[in-house]
Amino acid sequence: MRRHLKILEFALSALWRRRFKNLAIVVVYGFTIAVLASILLMTDAMRGEAEQILIGAPDLVVQRVAAGRHDLIPVDYAEEIRGLPGVGEVSPRYWGYYFDAFTESNFTFVGIDDGPPYELELLEGRLPSAPSECAVGEGVARARSTGVGHELTLISHDGLGVIFDVVGEFQASSSILTNDLVVFRNADLVELFGIPEGRAVDLSVEVFNDGEVSTVAAKVKRIFPDTRPITRSEILRTYDAVFSWRSGMLLTVFAAALAAFCILAWDKATGISAEERREIGVLKALGWSTRDVLELKFWEGAAISLTSFLLGLIAALVHIFLLGASLLAPVIQGWSVLFPEFRFTPSITVYQLFVLGFLTVVPYVASTVAPSWKAAVTDPEEVMRG
């Protein structure tokens, strides 16, 4: 036991002696880890964010589908669905995407009457309560340089300009959903989008027993064959799959970078300097066995891995949670033009660390086994022969 610790000590001092040479490998190794960790942390943070939002989402959403195209749903359907056993509140929802010609970006419009559909945190002001009022997300406010007490001009379905008073602004922390969001009263939204009387975008359905959601969905489908019921867990799974896929996709792309890193690690480990080789020869001559030198190399690799891992991880945490993933965000989110400046809730799990370790340390260790052995079997007699 003691011997192992002493060899560890020697390994650390040997690394420190060659710190500038080792710095190169730590930088590259750490960078690789930072990239991979950023991808992992970011996709998981986004998934967490989406899950957080969907907690408040309705148990069941009923859309109408006409020839496979999403269509407005008659509000009367709500009455009949409410009649099903186990169903609570059924309410029509009004929402839609709006292309803003001024800023060339998409906004999400949501109509509310009795409180917000999700847990939305207001930065300042209040939710709209009177006609011609609205509350905007931070991204919208910045893009249109407006805010509480100012106005927001939008073009309605018949090409006329409509002016709204901004009475609230959403907090940045509830980012994904609120950034490009504008909230109106239902009546305003119906008028703006020109939704025909008696129609809604979809229906949100409350189901008392979570286990009954799919049964209710099946019944709705049977009564109204032209509808498509979507359960909350389905949405969650889709998010999960999408985020896992995105992160897996990116990791695959970065596999090339990982391979390059392995080659570098191999090269660094193989190309030990004449001085280092002589030093190992001296160790062998002075009574170090091949096993001892292998252990020395193992500790050196472990120390380099751990240092790089911690540095890379810290860099990734800073990048994702302090700098809002500024370097990766454009690649990974990509579904809305208005997606600047995220603020993710910092979180990291043992599983993420485990996966990250497996993705980075395993290739490093695997590519340094043979070179370490090569160094460890240096013939002690070489020292004698000069």
Binding site: R2, I7, F10, S13, A285, T290, R291, D292, P380, M384
Partner: protein, 234 residues
Amino acid sequence: MTAGHERFIATDGVSKTYNPRRADPVRAVDTVTMHVDRGEVLVLEGPSGSGKTSLLSLIGCMSRPTAGRIVVDGRDVAKLAESELTMERRQRFGFIFQQFHLVADLPVIENVLVPLYPTELSLREMRRRAHAALGRFALDAKASRKVRTLSGGEQQRVAIARALVNDPQVVVADEPTAHLDRRLAEELLAILEDIHRDGRTVVIATHDPRIFDHPIVDRVLEMRDGRIVGERRR
């Protein structure tokens, strides 16, 4: 102290061939039969290329012979596995190399500690022994200096302290005076005499007459072309 006549190391028809499968194999040691008595000072004398360094590394358990037997303290080491050979080397031998082979960037004390790392000794005990070894050569005050800042003579004494730190039975020195001026060579011989007085066996390979004419030497073996061609006893 005169040498006893107990055989400590004995070789029997030992050969060492380098590049045996190439067209021009080099037979550095050619069927040598010799012995080292316990407690004696033995010199292997010969010009460079005569095979004395190769014989020294065979005796010092640093390499295995191509043929023949080597017995160290009753144990045949010619066929030991590398790890066993390492144990022999660690426990019995102290080495002084021609170019010292110190790690220039390490402090003096760390250099002396190197042979003790792969043992089960505690760090405290290791340091105690290293300080004792350094103290013997008046280097204790410079223990934390980097080796590169020391003079040649001091570096030589660090190398000797390192050779003694594991309390070896045999001290093996390869051309220890090759790069030394007269004064340092004298100093080295004085140290070797001191080591010998501890009761340690000393084996030196050299072609320096200052050594093999020195009174501490018990026996000189002359080597030419990998063979022993003469023996002088004092």
